[in-house]
């Protein structure tokens, strides 16, 4: 990460974003973990001291953006990172900061997920950049990820417009990536680390930095529009865009993001000649001059971009200016899909459609390929061996049956993170998930609609800190009779074990205050709060039963460190063992827990894989004949 200028290293897209920030002289970096964006902050953590950077995991993306905005207003170059869902969380502040502007360069890194690899929506954040009236640069490989960050810091500081009462200042700039680019590795030649020079610091300027006066607000809006016009001109000449029109070209292809690479390969692979190409890195505002230059010279244009037809709409609009008929191939005519990520094959077939050649890969192997894929078993994510959430969902199921609410007799609203895996068998617990922290508001609304069954919101610690506190206050204030289960494994587990406020340490690994969830619940007015260890299934069940019987708003905090973290820091307990003499082969343990460390022997008895067992002891608690022992 701190390698010398000129050395060539193998970097992941996200690592290259981090390197770009270092080369740009970044001083403050904040983010909230979210696949596929997390590695930017993670790769900076080991070098914070040496590089003199302040890096933090914030409680959510809006806070992270506000922290970086503050640093930027105080003159420091800042970088904030998030996945697309986090952009929605931070959006309120981002749109407002566009009006007020920044001092030190402020870059917002957002990673979209075409293909939904991380199990959230396929949002196209380019459309958000349009809504926020802010510039966005798209990366297509690790090298361009670094370059995009450098360019974004320059653009962020460059286009200040001096006005009567204000000094010159800049605006936030987006760098966007996608899963395939953010997680791609490739060679990057390291550039020089820029000497830090502070932008002008903070001076009191309410005409610029407040929005409460409509007149000032409209003035800021007009200034933002002027600034974007200047950036449009700069982007026309950006080296992140590339226009090539060979003599006699009949066809043109416009590509963005990862499609740029697939196009280069396809052209080479099939020896396609005389193709005009425009690769676009600056996706907002689009370089319409370059697009027009391409459209002017060809008979047909193919537009390659994942998700929404953002560039394509612009191409179709500009086509009218040319004054002759030009074919446009993209999503709007059905040539290309709007769902999922692009593959080399999708790009090849579309290129073939443009140039009138059949470039579909065909052989006589499709039959066996389809057969092979149909044979592949589904592999839904299980809870890990020793996962404390397993105890929570087993105890909750038992408590619901004990209180007469088994078999869909209660509604469990899940939330984002590992905790949602309670939707799978054998727990079959969670009914839905929407967004970070949504479970508590959803549960309240379900109750308001007259639902008589108990409604339980199941939420993890990091998700609770992120967006679970306001809906808890809301439920308590407005009298929603719900049960809130906070599954506190003291870490942000799903995204790779980044610390949460309940971890007791921060991003840099330094000891920090440990924020207690039960204290927040009580302060929010939830009077009935119990704290249990989910490894103790009967105690957890009793806590749930008590809360369900009492009615009203109640909360159970189920606290036990993530087993993968315990393993990593050497706190793992010894493995358990099934006594083959005592095991009756009822397999209640296997069926109740769905533990990946448990299997069934040839004789039909339960067996435990010692290497995988985390020693949680839940199987011993479940076994009706006491055939499982050990651990501790």
């Amino acid at each position: 990460m701190l390698g010398d200028e000129g050395s060539r290293v193998l970097l992941m897209g996200n690592e290259a974003v981090a390197r770009g920030a270092i080369e740009a002289g970044v001083e403050v970096v904040a983010g909230y973990p979210g696949t596929p964006s997390s590695e930017v902050v993670e790769s900076l953590i080991p070098v914070v001291r040496e590089a003199g950077i302040r890096v933090e995991w914030s409680v959510n993306e809006k806070v992270a953006f506000d922290v970086c905005s503050g640093a930027s207003l105080a003159g420091a170059r800042s970088l904030v990172t998030m996945k697309m869902s986090g952009l929605n969380v931070a959006s309120d502040s981002i749109v407002s900061m566009a009006y007020g502007g920044v001092n030190g360069g402020l870059v917002v890194y957002v990673a979209d997920d075409p293909g939904a690899h991380a199990g959230m929506v396929e949002q196209d954040s380019r459309l958000f950049a349009r809504a926020a009236l802010l510039p966005m640069i798209d990366a297509w490989d690790p090298g361009s990820s670094r370059d995009a960050v450098l360019e974004a810091f320059e653009v962020s500081e460059e286009f200040g417009i001096p006005v009567e009462v204000s000094e010159e200042f800049g605006i936030p700039v987006f760098v966007r990536s996608t899963s395939s680019v953010a997680h791609m590795r490739g060679g990057v030649e390291l550039g020089p680390v820029r000497e830090r020079k502070r932008a002008a610091g903070l001076t009191r300027d309410i005409r610029r930095l407040t929005r409460a006066s409509p007149a000032w607000c409209k003035e800021q809006h007009a200034r933002l529009n002027e600034r974007m016009a200047k950036i449009t001109a700069r982007f026309e000449a950006s080296r992140l865009n590339g226009l090539e029109i060979p003599g006699g070209a009949r066809w043109g292809v416009i590509s963005t993001g990862v499609s740029r690479s697939y196009l280069v390969e396809a052209v080479e692979r099939y020896g396609v000649e005389g193709l005009a190409t425009l690769s676009i890195g600056t996706t907002n505002p689009l370089p319409e001059g370059l697009i027009r230059a391409l459209v002017d010279r060809v008979e047909g244009v193919l537009v390659l971009e994942e998700l929404e037809p953002h560039v394509e709409q612009s191409v179709r609009a500009l086509r009218g200016d040319v004054g002759r008929s030009i074919r446009v191939l993209g999503k709007m005519d059905g040539t290309l899909p709007r769902v999922g990520e692009y593959t080399p094959d999708i790009v090849e077939v579309a290129l073939g459609a443009l140039i009138g050649r059949d470039l579909a890969r065909r052989d006589d192997l499709e039959g066996p390929r389809v057969e092979a894929r149909a044979m592949a078993p589904r592999r839904p994510l299980p809870f890990c061996p020793g996962c404390s959430h397993r105890g929570t969902y087993v105890a909750l199921g038992q408590a619901l049956r004990e209180t007469g609410h088994g078999e869909e007799g209660a509604i469990v609203v899940g939330d984002i993170g590992c905790t949602i895996l309670g939707m799978h068998p054998p727990f079959d617990s969670c009914w839905m998930e929407v967004s970070m922290g949504a479970s508590i508001g959803l549960a309240s609304g379900i109750k308001y609609a007259g639902e008589e069954r108990p409604v339980i919101a199941a939420i993890g610690d990091s998700t609770f800190f992120h967006a679970g506190v306001p809906p808890t206050i809301n439920a308590s204030w407005n009298g929603a009779d719900i049960l809130i289960a906070v599954l506190d494994n003291e870490i942000t587990a799903m995204t790779g074990h980044q610390p949460s406020p309940s971890s007791g340490y921060n991003a840099a690994g330094e000891a920090s205050r440990e924020i207690r969830i039960e204290g927040l619940l009580q302060a929010s007015g939830v009077e009935r709060v119990s704290v249990v260890d989910p490894y103790d299934i009967s105690a957890s069940r009793a806590a749930f039963v008590e809360a369900l019987k009492a009615g009203g708003i109640a909360a159970v905090v189920l606290r036990r460190a993530c087993s993968l973290v315990a393993r990593r820091i050497g706190l793992q307990k010894g493995a358990l063992r099934v006594s083959p003499e005592d095991c009756t082969g009822c397999l209640l343990c296997v069926r109740t827990l769905g533990c990946p460390a448990m299997g069934v022997s040839g004789e039909g008895r339960a067996v435990i894989d010692e290497a995988a067992c985390a020693g949680c002891g839940m199987c011993a608690q479940v076994c009706p004949v006491g055939a499982i022992s050990g651990g501790g």
Binding site: R260, E268, A372, M375, A376, P377, R378, R379
Partner: protein
């Protein structure tokens, strides 16, 4: 580690039309597929070759499917192997080889660990889990050649099942004309693996290498 292997003279013969050698690593989260990918890409990069790696990590880091594309050669740009374009499949689990069948073709040489790692739900719902023989059977109808190898068993012999990924790496090196040289792979292993487990992993590598030599000679 493995004497008598061909040098880089044969290298580009395998790189096909646009100069690419595509290795696909398929595994279950936690099996070491990500580490194997790191060793392969580090070795290729240290040999001065153009390398692009694509990884679909998503939520699949623990117990889910993990697929990595290691692409080597002057013409390689994108992070994904085209349909049927895989040159070498290294599958750390039999059923995971099935999942990536669309990348396989006649040009593919497949090294498949025969030890299954069934998902927990297969035990719960009695879902059918394909036997290793069935997997090999259907793969043989797609790929040029399939080398089934009990990598997990050999890793146990080496000291721990956790070195299974290095057994498969050793088997890869014993394929004819591997693009990556044994010495660069050995250096990449030293750079990517914890020092205290290096000796065990080298034993695992050697066992995989010898097993593959045995398979190629009809053992």
């Amino acid at each position: 580690m493995c004497p008598g292997l061909p040098g880089r003279g044969h290298l580009w013969r395998w790189l096909g039309l646009i100069g690419e050698h595509n290795i696909l690593v398929s595994s279950v989260g936690g099996q070491g597929g990500v580490t194997l990918t790191r060793v392969l890409s580090t070795a290729a990069f240290s040999q001065g070759m153009n390398v692009v790696v694509g990884e679909t990590l998503g939520m699949a880091q623990r117990g889910g499917s993990v697929t990595s594309h290691v692409r080597v050669g002057p013409g390689v740009r994108g992070p994904m192997i085209p349909r049927g374009g895989c040159d070498v499949l290294l599958s750390l689990e039999p059923a995971e080889a099935l999942r990536v069948a669309h990348y396989l073709g006649r040009r593919t040489r497949a090294v498949v660990n025969t030890a299954p790692s069934p998902p927990a739900f297969a035990l719960l719902r009695e879902a059918r889990y394909p036997e290793a023989e069935e997997v090999i059977g259907v793969l043989k109808r797609i790929t040029g050649v399939v080398y089934p190898i009990d990598a997990t068993g050999l890793a146990s012999e080496a000291g721990s099942t956790r070195s299974m990924n290095m057994v498969v790496l050793g088997a890869y090196v014993a394929l004819e004309d591997p693009v990556l040289s044994p010495s660069s792979l050995e250096e990449a292993m030293a750079a990517s693996l914890p020092p205290r487990f290096l000796a065990m992993n080298k034993r695992a590598f050697d066992l995989g290498y010898e097993a593959m030599i045995g398979l190629k000679h009809g053992g």
